[in-house]
Symmetry: C2
C-alpha cells in the first residue's frame, strides 16, 4: 500500500462529558471563547448549559447565533469579524455539522486571512488555526473528528469542500446525552449521513486497514441501533449511534469519500438540501455504479447489512445494496429526488460541478459528468 | 459507560514513509534534533539512513547511542544532560520500545525538570514536552502510539510505568520496510508483545468500543500473519503485523492493560527480562485467572483464536486460551518461567511489587499479591 496518514482529535466520550469543556478551554490557553451554535440548541437549553460551564471556568465568551442549516460564506465572514472585534482566542462549536463547519471557517479566516473561498480544496491552509473544541449534538456529521469543512458559496451556489489537517479540532467532546433532545427526523438523517460516510470511505481508493476497521464497525452499529434508538430512545442505542458516527468520522476523515458526497455537495449548493435528505436517494444508486470496481468490499458491506453471506460475492454485494434501499424506505426517508427538489433541468449543471469536488477523486470507479447524471436520472 | 478518552499521535504509515522524518521535524520547528536508537539498528544501517534524511532537511543532530534493552533511569539522565548541552529541540527515536521509552524519558526530564522517578505513575507530567517523532523498528511495543513509558529504576530493581497524555509522540512514522532486517526472534517477541497488549486492553475495565474494535483487529491480524511473516518475510504479512501493533497500541494506550503487564514490569525490573520473553509464559495463565470476570469477552477472543465458536461461551473462552498456549509452543517461545529466570524465591517480592503497578488497576478481576504469586507458581 502507499503511504497513508491517520490522525484524530483528542476524543472525550461519555454522558456528561460536556462538563469538561471549560477545563479543556483553559488548557488550550483560552481567555475569551468564541461560541457557535444554532437556534434549535438554544431552544433545547444546551447553549445556556454550555455557557454556564464556560462561566464556571471564569472564561469570558462571545456567541455567534445565526448559522444556517448549510453554513454560508457570508456567515463565516461575519463570524470572523465578530471573533476579531471581540479578541476571542479559542473556538467552541456546539451542534451538528453546520455550527462545526461554520466554526472551522471562522478559525481558518481569522488565522489565515482573506476569504473562505481562498481555501476551497485540499491542503490550502498554511497558518495554524486557533484551538478548537467541538461538541457534536447529532450522531452524524463527523465534523468534530474530520479534516473536512463544507461551506456554501452563495454566489456560485456550490458547497465548497475544504480539506486540511488543520481543520481537525483539538478536542472533540462527545456527550451522547445531547442526543436526548433530537427528534426522529434528526436521528434518522444523522444516522444516514454517518452510514454514507462509512460506506463511501470504506470503498475509497485511499482506504486502509485502520480506516476500514472503523467504517465496518460504524455500519454494523448504525444498523443494529437505529431502530431501538427511534423506538425507545434507549440510552445505550443512542450511545452506540454516537460511537458509530465517531468511527465513521475516523474513517472518512482519513480515507475521504466518493461520488455520493460529490453530488450531495453540488446539489446542496444549488438547492440547499442537507446530506441527510440526499444520501438515502443517492447512496444505493452510487453503490450500484461502483459495484464492478469493488465487488469484494461491497460484499463485505452486504454481509453486514444482510447479516449473512449469499451464495456468491456478487449476490451478497447486490443483496446488501437492495436491503439498504429497503431500510431507507422503512426509515421513512425520501427515495427519489423528485420528493426533495423541484427542478430536474438543473442536474446536468449539478453533475458538471460535482466532477470538480475533491470527494470524487477517491471514488472507486471513475465517473464523468455524464455518468453522474445517469446515476441521478435513475433516481429522479 | 463512564467518560473515556481516546487519543493518538498523527500516524504516517507505509513503506518508505521514513523519508518524511525531516519534513515533519521542520514542521515541528526543529533546528537540532536529538536522535535515540540502538546498536542493532546502527549495524543494520537504519540509523545512518535516518541521519542522511535529517541532514537532507538541513537539520543539525546529536545522537545518543547507549540504550539498554530495558532503558534505565541513569541512561535517561545522561540523555537529558546531552540534550541540554547540545541545545536540541525535537526528539526523534528510531527503534523498538527501548529507544522510544528512553526518548520519552529524556523529553520528560528536559521539560519538567527533576529526575525520571518523579513521574512514575499516572498523569504526573505537567509541562509540555518537546516535540517527538518516533519511528518504530518492530511491530510490537506500541510505544510510538501510546501514553506509556517503561523505565527501569536500577536502584529499586523495578520497571516504572509512566502514563501521561504528554508521552504520546506528535508523529509516529511507521515504515514496515524497517522490519525487513528483523530476525525471527525479534518478529516473534514483538508480535507476542502486541498480542498481549491487544488481549489485556480488550478485557480492561476501562475498555470501550473504540478501543475494543482495534484490539480485536490486532489479534486477528497477528494470528493470520505471524506464520507467513516468519516463513517468507512476505511484505504484506510484515505490513499487517505493523498495522496490528499499531491497532493494539491504539487500544492499550487508551484502555490500559492488566495483571500480565503488571507482573512483567515487576519481573523485568528484577531480572531484566523483556516483555516478549515473559508474555508467552504468563498471558494464558492470566487469561485463565481473569476468565470468570469476563467470560463473554474471553469467548470473543477465543472465537478469533480458534476461528469458530465452540458449543458454549465458556468452552469457546477456555478453548481460545488453550489454543493460544499451543500457538506459543509452535512459535518456539518459553512456556515456563524456569526457562527464562533462575530464582523462584524472588517471586513473592516480585508479585508484591506488581500490586503497585498502574496496569493492575484495570485488570478485569482484582488480584492480591498472593493471587499473582499463585499465577506465577502455576507456570514456574
Amino acid at each position: 500500500m502507499d503511504i497513508r496518514k491517520f490522525s484524530l482529535p483528542e476524543i472525550i466520550f461519555g454522558r456528561g462529558s460536556m462538563h469538561y469543556t471549560g477545563s479543556y478551554a483553559l488548557q488550550l490557553g483560552a481567555k475569551k471563547v468564541f461560541v457557535v451554535s444554532d437556534p434549535g440548541l438554544e431552544r433545547s437549553g444546551w447553549v445556556s448549559k454550555l455557557i454556564e460551564i464556560i462561566e464556571d471556568s471564569a472564561l469570558r465568551w462571545v456567541y455567534y447565533a445565526n448559522v444556517s442549516a448549510n453554513p454560508r460564506d457570508y456567515e463565516v465572514h461575519q463570524g470572523a469579524d465578530l471573533y476579531r472585534k471581540e479578541h476571542a482566542d479559542v473556538v467552541i462549536a456546539l451542534g451538528g455539522g453546520s455550527p462545526m463547519d461554520m466554526a472551522k471557517g471562522v478559525a481558518t479566516v481569522v488565522s489565515n486571512g482573506g476569504i473562505i473561498q481562498d481555501y476551497e480544496g485540499a491542503n490550502l491552509i498554511t497558518s495554524p488555526l486557533p484551538p478548537m473544541i467541538f461538541l457534536p449534538s447529532t450522531a452524524g456529521s463527523g465534523s468534530d473528528i474530520s479534516q473536512f469543512a463544507i461551506i456554501t458559496d452563495v454566489g456560485r451556489r456550490v458547497k465548497m469542500s475544504l480539506i486540511s489537517r488543520s481543520l481537525t479540532p483539538n478536542v472533540s467532546i462527545i456527550d451522547p446525552d445531547m442526543l436526548s433532545t433530537a427528534d426522529d427526523d434528526l436521528i434518522v438523517s444523522s444516522a444516514v449521513d454517518a452510514l454514507a460516510h462509512a460506506v463511501e470511505s470504506y470503498v475509497s481508493t485511499i482506504a486502509h486497514t485502520l480506516t476500514e476497521t472503523q467504517a465496518m464497525k460504524a455500519i454494523l452499529l448504525i444498523l443494529e441501533n437505529i431502530n431501538p434508538a427511534l423506538k425507545t430512545r434507549d440510552p445505550l442505542a443512542m450511545e452506540n449511534l454516537s460511537i458509530a458516527a465517531t468511527a465513521a468520522g475516523m474513517s472518512f476523515s482519513n480515507a475521504s469519500l466518493g461520488a455520493c458526497h460529490a453530488i450531495a455537495h453540488s446539489l446542496g449548493g444549488f438547492f440547499d438540501t442537507t446530506h441527510g435528505m440526499v444520501h438515502p436517494v443517492l447512496l444505493p444508486e452510487v453503490m450500484s455504479y461502483n459495484l464492478p470496481a469493488c465487488e469484494t468490499k461491497m460484499a463485505n458491506i452486504g454481509e453486514i447489512v444482510l447479516g449473512r453471506k449469499l451464495s456468491s460475492t456478487a449476490q451478497t454485494a447486490q443483496g446488501g445494496i437492495e436491503r439498504l434501499r429497503e431500510i431507507f424506505v422503512e426509515l421513512g426517508t425520501a427515495t427519489r429526488f423528485r420528493e426533495i427538489v423541484n427542478d430536474e433541468t438543473a442536474f446536468p449543471q449539478i453533475c458538471e460541478m460535482a466532477t470538480r469536488d475533491a470527494c470524487l477523486l477517491t471514488n472507486p470507479r471513475p465517473a464523468t459528468a455524464t455518468e453522474l447524471l445517469s446515476i441521478c436520472q435513475k433516481v429522479w
